[in-house]
């Protein structure tokens, strides 16, 4: 414990903790909606898009990568969710296509134009987020905090609408709810979350952060509100424990958090089936 307090005396560890907890909170909120809308893989797809965008940003030598990464990812999210029903190439195929293409283009660009001496190290840390969470500056933390709090506020404000649109889009449309606008909102918010979460777990592991807490909570609870709250709590607890463990044991941050999420999912599965047997 004293060891832990000693770690916390470093500002970068405190920053990492604040950002980690906020990101975990945001990413879990929309998880339930994405899982239920059968969009679990959108996180994965978008994170690869973000990887491609980061590659472009570093090739162009843009100082603040967010300026490139955020708009590109938001645009792709809008295209994927908006085009959902009408597109010639549907749901999962579209996601797979966009994600592998941007992954390939990103790596290609980095290889051709990279100025860095440690290319594979850069790529690895972008994909698995091994160190970036510990190298955040003050402005990064401020941006992260503002964006996360905005996401949480939007989610609370539109909670009932998001529920209605997720449960039954046709009914909502028939009742005069502008379902298209809310789908758009969901797309934009999820893109923002992905870009934020890349700092924490890297682009390969983001879907875990989005879907594991939701899936775990769905094993145990029976109402949308309880599932949402439970998944937020689980996500924050797992992120905090994961970061503590990784500091104590020197393991990669992102992988440790995701492993913690996976363990919790296993426990929730057992608890859920035990409860069903008793009921």
């Amino acid at each position: 414990m004293s060891n832990f307090l000693w770690y916390l005396s470093f500002p970068f560890v405190r920053y990492a903790f604040i950002v980690g907890v906020l990101i975990a909170l945001c990413s879990s909120l929309l998880g339930v909606t994405l899982v239920l809308k059968r969009f679990s893989f959108i996180g994965d797809g978008l994170s690869h898009v973000a990887f491609g965008a980061i590659a472009i940003a570093s090739v162009l030598n843009v100082s603040n990568r967010m300026i490139v990464v955020l708009p590109v990812t938001v645009l792709c999210a809008v295209l994927l969710l908006k085009g959902g029903q009408k597109a010639k190439i549907k749901g999962d195929a579209a996601i797979a296509m966009i994600s592998v293409a941007s992954l390939a283009v990103g790596y290609l660009l980095l290889n051709l134009f990279s100025t860095s001496s440690n290319l594979s190290g850069d790529v690895c840390s972008t994909l698995f987020g091994s160190t970036s969470i510990l190298t955040l500056g003050r402005s990064d933390v401020a941006l992260c905090t503002v964006l996360s709090l905005t996401v949480v506020a939007l989610f609370i404000f539109f909670y009932n609408k998001i529920f209605a649109v997720t449960f039954d889009e046709t009914f909502s449309r028939a009742a005069g709810v502008n379902a298209g606008a809310y789908n758009l909102l969901i797309a934009v918010v999820i893109a923002v979350i992905i870009v934020l979460a890349m700092n924490l777990v890297g682009s390969l592991l983001i879907s875990a952060l989005v879907i594991f807490p939701a899936l775990s909570a769905m094993r145990i609870y029976n109402s949308f509100l309880k599932v949402t709250i439970c998944s937020a709590v689980l996500s924050v607890v797992c992120a905090a424990c994961g970061m503590l463990l990784s500091i104590a044991a020197g393991t990669p941050v992102g992988a440790t958090i995701v492993a913690a999420d996976a363990v919790v999912f296993g426990i929730c599965c057992l608890a859920g089936s035990a409860r069903r047997r008793n009921a």
Binding site: V32, A164, G176
Partner: protein, 237 residues
């Protein structure tokens, strides 16, 4: 007074016409069954009436209670809903959504209305149970209560008894009939011609040829006799 009249309507999607020359009207308190074979355009018609897709030609004249957004819609269940973690109360509440505009949370009146409609549908006892744990018939009652929260006067039901066993099906039809007796106008898509002929006041037969009229007119028409006979029921009762 007609709350809906459809004049020479052509429906379809962007580049494909599904059905043309539709003429019918609905009065307050009617019970209209829309019958026809698969692929004849029943669902397209419903989506057009709901305002989800624009008509290709002709006009839909909407009276009071039938504006797009004032119809209580009972859609067919989707795969997503079968494992949806939501309580009965949450789902019925979502029927109040349309009236709320941008207001983020439900009002006290919304909650009272929800309780009233759950009691009406006899599902108040399991208001806090999970939707996915209910039986098929109970789930339909939940969705019906939700539709009633969205609209007081007109219900549009898309195959409300699909997948229900005979006893529950009969219950469901009785429930719909009692709503109709209370003054709710019913539009129902149905595969079940027998039930359509038992409960409906009017029949709209979609397909070749088109037919619209009262139930008795339908039974007297050639298409009505043919369709009723093929669906395995003697048309003369």
């Amino acid at each position: 007074m007609a709350i809906l009249s459809v004049n020479n309507l052509t429906i379809g999607y962007e580049d494909q016409e599904v059905l043309s020359g539709l003429n019918f009207s609905i009065n307050e308190g009617d019970y209209l069954c829309i019958v026809g074979e698969n692929g004849s355009g029943k669902t397209t018609l419903v989506r057009t009436l709901l305002g989800l897709i624009p008509p290709r030609d002709g006009e839909i004249v909407r009276g009071p209670g039938f504006a797009a957004g004032e119809i209580g819609y009972l859609p067919q269940q989707t795969q997503v809903q079968r494992d949806f973690p939501a309580s009965v109360r949450e789902i019925v509440l979502s029927g109040c959504q349309a009236r709320n505009g941008l207001r983020p949370f439900y009002s006290k009146e919304d909650r009272t209305l929800v309780v009233k409609n759950m009691e009406r549908m006899e599902i108040a006892d399991f208001a806090d149970r999970c939707y996915r744990d209910l039986s098929g018939g109970q789930q339909q009652r939940v969705l019906l209560a939700r539709a009633l929260c969205a609209a007081e006067k007109v219900l549009l039901l898309d195959e409300p008894v699909t997948g229900l066993d005979p006893v529950v099906t009969a219950d469901m039809y009785e429930l719909i009939r009692s709503l109709n007796k209370e003054g709710v106008t019913i539009l129902m898509i149905s595969h079940d011609i027998e039930a359509a002929l038992r409960y409906a006041t009017h029949i709209l037969h979609v397909g070749e040829p088109l037919f619209f009229g009262t139930k008795d007119q339908y039974l007297g028409s050639e298409i009505g006799r043919l369709f009723a006979a093929r669906e395995g029921r003697p048309h003369n009762e």
